[in-house]
């Protein structure tokens, strides 16, 4: 049994290694693509493009504006009139406008100061966050005004009843998105490539008619299956080592806190089970185009449901349940917990269990269907 399988595996490797465009693409997928994605911004308020219309031009208004600053806000322009404000918002050059009325100074002195902010609500979540930051800035300014009026020196500030919330962000102190996205992109690539590569290897045999040859050979179906999956597992393990150490850790300095041994052994099982799912699709498909489309139909929801693009908390409850049948959900959770939080088996055993159960199911199902299709 082993000799036959080894011969078949060797053939698969040779085929793959001679296909240099694919090798090149795979290298890119696990390096360049992760690098490009890592640099993207997500929905935080960062350098939020802001336009100011200061009709008051007073000390007070300047004090207020001076508080609207980086890293949250980037003042793109000082508008001269309403029309300019509208134009900045319409063209999307600014997403927030702060309008300070002409009587600001007088009304602040009279205790009824007010100003207006106009927020582009297109990207709703970011818009809410940006306005909340402005509200906070107004709070800071209020406090400044009060201490000015009371004549309090900075030393006396400890004698005003205030709660100082010292926020510490665990695992990612600077809330650096790059750390998150680079890992996310790597885990995505692992999933996508294992499915597509294995499916393509199988469909190719079908389309070229070489499957018939394999079937009349003494190779048994299970051996054929293993021979199709094992090269994918090996290639992906090697590629992910490159991206983990060169890109994720090397270029982006993402801390890797957990046990690599744990990560890689579970990853091997995961790649194995996802690949066998790719095989299952290949068994049904008549040509590569069909197989690819079917895989996309499965892959895209899987990726979006994995809790990687938006946190589980922002999914509808039915979607959180639906995600339970996606192996990727467990793998994502597992990957972040082990690599990022440094958690051990005690915390991730249920993810490992999920991957094992779903993996066994998928492998069994595809071997079973394959036998039926052959008859």
């Amino acid at each position: 049994m082993w000799r036959r399988m080894v011969a078949m595996i060797r053939k698969e490797f040779q085929q793959l290694l001679h296909d240099w465009p694919i090798l090149f693409i795979l290298m890119w997928a696990f390096s360049g693509a992760i690098y490009v994605a890592g640099h993207a911004v997500r929905i935080e308020v960062n350098n939020y493009p802001t336009v100011i219309l200061d009709l008051s031009r007073s000390v007070q208004s300047r004090e207020l504006v001076s508080l609207i600053r980086a890293p949250y806000f980037k003042i793109v322009a000082y508008a001269r009139n309403d029309d300019e404000v509208v134009q900045f918002l319409d063209t999307g050059k600014a997403s927030l406008a702060v309008v300070i009325p002409p009587d600001f100074e007088r009304r602040v002195a009279a205790g009824s100061g007010r100003f207006q902010i106009i927020s582009d609500g297109t990207i709703s979540q970011t818009s809410i966050m940006a306005t909340s930051y402005i509200a906070r800035i107004a709070g800071v300014y209020n406090f400044q005004l009060l201490t000015q009026r009371l004549g309090v020196t900075p030393r006396d500030l400890a004698n005003i009843p205030q709660v100082d919330a010292r926020i510490r962000v665990e695992y990612n102190p600077n809330v650096d998105n790059v750390w998150f996205i680079s890992l996310l992109e790597m885990l995505n690539m692992i999933t996508m490539v294992s499915m597509l590569l294995t499916a393509a290897a199988m469909v190719r045999e079908k389309v070229y008619g070489t499957l018939e040859q394999l079937l009349v050979s003494p190779l048994r179906p299970i051996e054929l299956f293993m021979a199709k999956i094992i090269p994918t597992v090996v290639i992906i393990m090697l590629l992910s080592l490159v991206s983990l150490f060169v890109i994720v850790q090397g270029v982006f300095h993402t801390p890797i806190r957990g046990s690599l041994l744990l990560f890689y052994s579970v990853m091997a099982i995961y790649v194995f089970s996802v690949s066998s799912f790719g095989l299952l699709v290949a068994v049904f498909a008549r040509n590569l185009a069909q197989a690819m489309m079917t895989l996309f139909l499965i892959l895209m929801p899987m990726m979006f449901l994995s809790g990687a693009f938006t946190p589980q908390e922002s999914m509808a409850p039915w979607m959180q349940y639906a995600s339970l049948i996606s192996p990727m959900r467990y793998f994502m959770d597992f990957g972040y917990q082990v690599l990022f939080k440094g958690n051990g088996v005690a915390y991730v055993w249920h993810d490992v269990l999920g991957i094992l159960v779903l993996g066994t199911l998928m492998f069994g199902l595809s071997v079973w269907r394959f036998r039926i299709e052959l008859k």
């Binding site: 465009p21 100003f115 106009i118 979540q125 009060l146 917990q337």
Partner: protein, 377 residues
């Protein structure tokens, strides 16, 4: 001359119709994606599990805890025993934020002193962490404002002394801040980027793999006739996809629509031609279906999702990000789509975008023409 293109169009169409599984997928996948995103996903991060370590257990500390618990943003999951349990809940993800209240919390406040609470946020998902930080800061600021006004009134100060400045906030373009108004038009852009490109990516390379491409090489058709003949049926499919998604966005998801249907539709047609062209180009360059597919996916999906302005405004990106953003057609179309759906802008605003898309399309098709070599090297 056009006859020859028409013959290829007819052949491609027939081939498409003969594979109902494939053709069906071309319509099913966009619909499934729209349903998933429209119904299942919102960008609102709410119900975040919050826990407390209360070292004082006084009415003051309970008041402070209540100010968080009574908000929509947080789900109260418990008061913890101590740091060891806090560490465990943070690691396992049961709590995303834990607030540690010191033993002299209320005592300090009643004796007019400042006090400090420790807030630990789970940073494993930066977006969520950012939202949590914003919520905690706001709620804490409200507490401080209450404390201040009480303090000032106890000092006997007039109301004028502490009269906070009012902020009037208005949200333009999406006054109800419905997240579907953002997601659904955004998905239209992403799906019409990824999907036509992938359809187009298989068209030529498939014939290369099966060898039928030699029929075309040997025939008197010109290169541009081949490209035209291959592109038209798929542009039709992509355009039908657009119409379906548009209808879903209005009828099913009731997205705010303030602009002109015709402006949107002509831009969508241009965009479909462009994205089919992107796929065709890769199909002509690559030699195997798998490589064409992978290249197309990598070149369209990740950049479009991250850089088109779907999740954050392009103007907030750094120089490198803005550069990448302007390399992909999705960015130009995104502005048109959001402009038409939400901002109600007219054609006058979009001509730079339409010009960019046209240029992009011309470049893509010219490259395809250049690379389509009828002679075998």
């Amino acid at each position: 001359m056009l006859d020859r293109s028409r013959a290829i169009i007819r052949k491609e169409t027939r081939e498409l119709l003969r594979d109902p599984v494939y053709l069906g997928m071309a319509f099913v996948i966009p619909v499934v994606l729209m349903l998933l995103f429209g119904y299942g996903l919102s960008m609102d991060v709410k119900h975040l599990p919050i826990a407390f370590v209360d070292h004082e257990r006084s009415p003051h500390s309970r008041d402070y805890i209540d100010s968080f618990v009574n908000s929509d943003y947080f789900d109260f999951i418990g008061v913890l025993e101590g740091p060891a349990q806090a560490e465990h809940w943070m690691r396992s993800g049961r709590a995303r934020v834990i607030i540690d209240i010191p033993p002299d919390f209320g005592r300090k406040l009643t004796s007019n002193k400042a006090t400090t609470v420790g807030v630990t946020v789970d940073g494993s998902f930066p977006t969520r962490a950012g939202v949590i930080i914003a919520y905690v800061t706001i709620i804490n600021a409200q507490t401080n404002e209450r404390l201040l006004s009480r303090y000032v009134s106890r000092l006997g100060g007039s109301a004028q002394l502490f009269a906070p400045i009012q902020v009037n906030t208005s949200f333009w373009y999406n006054p109800t801040l419905e997240s579907n108004n953002m997601i659904v038009p955004g998905m239209l852009v992403l799906i019409l980027m990824l999907f036509p490109a992938i359809l187009g990516a298989l068209v030529v390379v498939r014939e290369k793999e099966s060898g039928t491409i030699f029929n075309l090489y040997a025939s008197p058709v010109h290169r541009w006739e081949i490209i035209l003949g291959k592109a038209v049926p798929y542009i039709t499919v992509a355009f039908l996809d657009y119409l379906i998604i548009f209808a879903m966005s209005i009828l099913l998801f009731q997205v705010r629509f303030t602009g002109s249907f015709w402006v949107l539709t002509s831009a969508a047609l241009l965009y479909s031609i462009c994205t089919i062209g992107v796929g065709l180009l890769f199909s002509i360059i690559m030699r195997t279906q798998l490589s064409a597919m992978l290249v197309t996916f990598l070149a369209t999906m990740t950049p479009a999702f991250n850089y088109s302005g779907f999740l954050s405004p392009v103007s907030s990106m750094d120089a490198q990000g803005q550069f990448i953003a302007h390399l992909i057609p999705a960015t130009y179309f995104m502005e048109v789509v959001r402009g038409v759906y939400l901002k109600g802008l007219g054609l006058g605003f979009f001509w730079p975008n339409l010009l960019a898309l046209t240029t992009y399309t011309l470049v893509v098709y010219s490259l395809a023409w250049l690379f389509l070599n009828k002679r075998i090297r």
